[in-house]
């Protein structure tokens, strides 16, 4: 992870002529958060498939399986985030009071991951090519979402507003990333992420209740 951050900082920093002491903390935060999101979603697809033995023998709440994947990835994320203080120290970046907003930010991010993972797990149990589709979508998303590049660099055209505004992953990333970088997410970021989480969880849990008796047949 640290190696990846170093390489990307160097290459993209040079390409975009970004001052490294500012770009490094940005990239480090972004990559750590993004890889948490991407691996959770990729592995989320397999939540039911890898636990088929248990599903076919025990009748547990189906939410346990995506939750298990999510928890595992949250722990990994907890280990990766240790890189950040070192990066901040190294590049002389200061931590401001906005860092406290990271807590609601990351909770919203996790809530959003959870409902998407439930949907993906259900669809993947039925259609086995979904995990591959998702992994290529995520590859594409990493370029569309400002992970390696500053959102400001897109300019102020209406097309760029559309590209960012309609990308839920942009807002989800912002609410967790900006507080760490000493900035404040916009009201739009908070509103979209929290309503998405609320709406998504309702839909996902309703779906889970509907397919509860079916998943075992699909595995």
């Amino acid at each position: 992870m640290a190696l990846q951050i170093g390489t990307i900082t160097l290459v993209f920093g040079l390409i975009f002529r970004n001052p490294l002491n500012e770009y490094l903390p940005f990239v480090a935060t972004s990559i750590i958060l993004w890889s948490f999101m991407a691996t959770s979603l990729n592995e989320g697809c397999l939540s039911f498939i890898v636990s088929d033995g248990i599903i076919k023998q025990l009748s547990l709440n189906m939410a346990v399986y995506p939750l298990r994947t999510l928890w595992k990835n949250t722990l990994t994320f907890g280990h990766n985030i240790i890189i950040l203080p070192i990066v901040f120290l190294f590049s002389g970046k200061e931590v401001t009071a906005s860092v406290f907003l990271f807590i609601p930010g990351i909770l919203l991010l996790i809530a959003n991951l959870f409902w998407i993972m439930i949907l993906l797990a259900v669809v993947s149990a039925r259609f086995r090519d979904v995990p591959q589709v998702i992994s290529s979508l995520l590859m594409m998303l990493v370029y569309v979402t400002p992970v390696f590049w500053y959102p400001e660099n897109l300019g102020n055209g209406s097309l760029s507003h559309l590209l960012l505004g309609l990308n839920p992953f942009y807002h989800i990333l912002q609410v967790a990333r900006l507080p760490l970088l000493g900035e404040f997410p916009t009201f739009e970021n908070w509103a979209i992420t929290s309503s998405l989480a609320a709406f998504g969880l309702v839909v996902a849990l309703a779906l889970l209740r509907r397919v509860k008796g079916k998943v075992a047949y699909w595995l």
């Binding site: 033995g53 248990i54 599903i55 076919k56 023998q57 025990l58 009748s59 547990l60 669809v123 039925r126 259609f127 086995r128 090519d129 979904v130 589709v133 509860k212 008796g213 079916k214 075992a216 047949y217 699909w218």
Partner: protein, 251 residues
């Protein structure tokens, strides 16, 4: 005294139709292709075969019932066990299972070979519905019973298959369910352990209210069960007292 919880299994005209998907039926892309091309391009786009594993099965089990299930391979025994275990939901008819169910179909369930024996006890315990404290209080018992001692600190992949079975058996049998599901009798380990395991299983049967056992062994069914159902092609072909049904089935 609090009202006693009713323990029973009621199956009412249960039917299980399992959809079997081939590679095409499991593919979202070919499903989308089918929509886009109006289904002309793909020869068998749905790739779906429905197997009716159980049909019109009705039965009621009350405390004290020891049900044996017989039938040829593929007759629907395991499917019926899964219905009673709450894993499969009937595609038509209904199944009402009230009571704490534990299934000893695959006692190796959830064993992670990389984790130590002790860690596996906690994972398996959690799957059995115990919390950490409850598992911790059983550790002593499990250690003694499985005779694994310090091996519990080692990863399970280093165990011999006999040791693995002893661990799985010791953990699986710590809970006392109200409804117990078994697929064939469990036989584990060497002669000395086998004897111990038999005693533990007998205790388990004693304390459980309803037993459902699928088996091919006449001797076993005769000694354990007090009711038999005979499944054939997913339907109940015959049911009744042990001696009668078994003699019709085996003779």
């Amino acid at each position: 005294m609090a009202l006693e919880k009713k323990i029973e299994v009621v199956l009412n005209h249960v039917e299980v139709a399992i959809p079997i998907f081939n590679a095409n039926g499991r593919s979202l892309t070919s499903r989308l292709l089918e929509v886009a091309t109006g289904g002309v391009l793909d020869a068998d786009p749905k790739g779906k075969v429905i197997v009716t594993a159980l049909q019109d099965v009705s039965l009621t089990l009350r405390p004290g019932d020891r049900l044996g299930i017989i039938g040829h391979n593929g007759a629907g025994k395991s499917t019926l066990l899964r219905i009673i275990g709450g894993v499969y939901h009937p595609t038509s008819g209904d199944a009402r299972i009230s009571g704490k169910v534990n299934s000893l179909i695959d006692i190796n369930l959830g064993i992670n070979p990389e984790a130590t024996g002790l860690e596996n006890i906690y994972v398996r315990g959690a799957l059995l519905g115990l919390n950490k404290k409850q598992v911790a209080s059983k550790i002593q018992d499990i250690t003694e019973f499985s005779e694994l001692g310090d091996f519990l600190q080692m990863p399970v992949r280093t165990y011999s298959s006999g040791m693995q079975l002893r661990l799985a058996f010791a953990v699986s049998t710590i809970v006392r369910p109200e409804i117990l599901i078994m697929d064939e009798w469990l036989s584990v380990g060497d002669a000395a352990f086998q004897a111990k395991a038999e005693i533990r299983l007998a205790e388990l049967l004693e304390s459980t209210q309803i037993l459902v056992l699928a088996s091919h062994s006449r001797k076993l069914l005769e000694s354990v069960c007090n009711r038999i159902i005979w499944l054939e092609h997913g339907k109940i072909k015959d049911q009744g007292p042990v001696a009668e049904v078994l003699s019709r089935y085996f003779d």
